[in-house]
Symmetry: C2
Subunit: 281 residues, 2 copies
């Protein structure tokens, strides 16, 4: 392989780091890749680190020693998140979203990979230190956000489903009571989709009474694993006691008036929690 100049290395290393977040990359990997001295690679990384921090693209952690290297942790700045969330709330307040039954049309938002990836990066910022092994979500509409978070945390996804498909081998199924409709429902996960002792981050698109999330928490128990966090895109206002007490919501649907087609959306608890977390670091 030909030798690369610093400018070229910076471009390629940035691309590589962005595509390999939360992964320890030995300096020798880059030294070999560019046939450059480790000292030059270290200097390159210092430039990247400064720029990543300056532009709040993420952190670049360096681990010293023989088994050391560099690790890219994607993050997002408070300023960026506020602007994004204000825009998202405004989008969600569009009266044309109101559907019969007080539901909200959200497929334009969930169907937008760029929005999902942004929100995925925010959740990944929040849960970066939770040692997440796997993301769990519920088919269908939780999947896009779950994969976005998983991409930034560099972990796999397991998908819980309502159906009993036989095409994934033996399943673990649980019955649960939907908090809003009070109906008994079933959710299933393929046995080999989740290893015992995993740290699970639950991600879903919508939470009202919390029955689905509660069900997923119980399912995680069945797999002798631990829930290390729960993140939802939209939390709906709910009068009665919730079935889940710890969760992070990006936005909160405080009012849906079907008759007047009025929707009120505010920030969820995500932003406050993130600020607290950053202050405690």
């Amino acid at each position: 392989m030909k030798k690369f100049r610093r400018s070229g290395r910076l471009v390629d290393m940035t691309n590589y780091l962005i595509h390999n977040p939360h992964q320890l990359i030995p300096l020798t990997y880059f030294a070999d890749r560019y046939e450059s001295a480790k000292s030059s690679i270290s200097e390159d990384l210092t430039i990247i680190k400064e720029m990543f921090e300056d532009q709040e693209i993420g952190l670049l952690l360096t681990v010293a020693g023989a088994s050391g290297g560099v690790k890219y942790i994607p993050t997002a700045s408070n300023d960026e998140i506020v602007v994004f969330l204000e825009d998202l709330c405004q989008k969600l307040e569009d009266p044309n979203r109101v559907l019969p039954g007080g539901y909200l049309y959200m497929m334009d938002i969930i169907g937008n990979p760029k929005l999902m990836n942004e929100i995925g990066r925010y959740f990944a910022t929040m849960f970066a230190n939770k040692k997440v092994d796997v993301i769990m979500t519920m088919a269908t509409k939780g999947i896009p956000l779950a994969y976005a978070v998983a991409t930034y945390l560099n972990v796999p996804v397991c998908i819980v489903r309502h159906e009993h498909r036989i095409t994934e081998g033996s399943l673990v199924s649980i019955n649960y009571v939907s908090g809003s409709s009070k109906r008994i429902q079933t959710m299933s996960l393929a046995k080999r989709s989740l290893k015992e002792g995993s740290n699970v981050l639950i991600i879903d698109d919508f939470m009202k009474a919390g029955g689905t999330v509660r069900g997923m928490i119980n399912l995680v128990d069945e797999f002798q694993s631990n829930v290390v966090g729960t993140g939802v895109l939209v939390e709906a206002n709910h009068q009665e006691e919730r079935l889940v007490d710890q969760y992070i919501s990006m936005t909160k649907l405080s009012e849906v008036n079907t008759k007047d087609k009025l929707v009120k959306v505010e920030f969820g608890n995500f932003f406050e929690k993130l600020k607290q977390m950053k202050e405690n670091e």
Copy 2:
């Protein structure tokens, strides 16, 4: 905003371009962002372009004139794809995947965002010039790959479903015959999920007789839109005539022997078609 040196700009521009593929970015955007002269930005882009092409990260197209700018087109090299596909075929041939009924367990692959994103980039390379407006997929298992392709093409996703959920407003539903089971099934798409006259790329995880894909093609017709391509992750060997004649498959399941737990997987037509396409460019 403070001034940035070239090295810093290269890092930040690379990050920005990678997160905004298939989008024309005016040079003034970068000039303002870094308070730099357009001539400096042009030189930066030349360095990035060379490195992107050298490392086959993608193409950097420059459009001259007042409404001009730069556009990043993600691509993948033939060498990289061959290595990846050989490894994928080997993974798929693991006899432990064989499930009753001749099905194959694939959730470890579909559940791996890194693999999905890689394959997404390959499909995005193949369909880069097809003026794709939107990706269509079928819930549940087609969704991860569909979003990966959509991220690299920077287009939205619409999700077709078997259920009749009422939470997305009025639906367009069609009946179709599953090619393998010969049963009549229904698929639905929310009316407002797809605009008339869209160029649609269909992405799915698995295709046997092609009934599901055929159904999606008919659904696209119902929306007065055009199918500009179909890509599947795994194509299964099928004796009878297929219901779809034009499709691109990443891999081909040529044999599943449940009794002996034998699986044979080979390259689909993707790689040959991509080579042809690149030769004709």
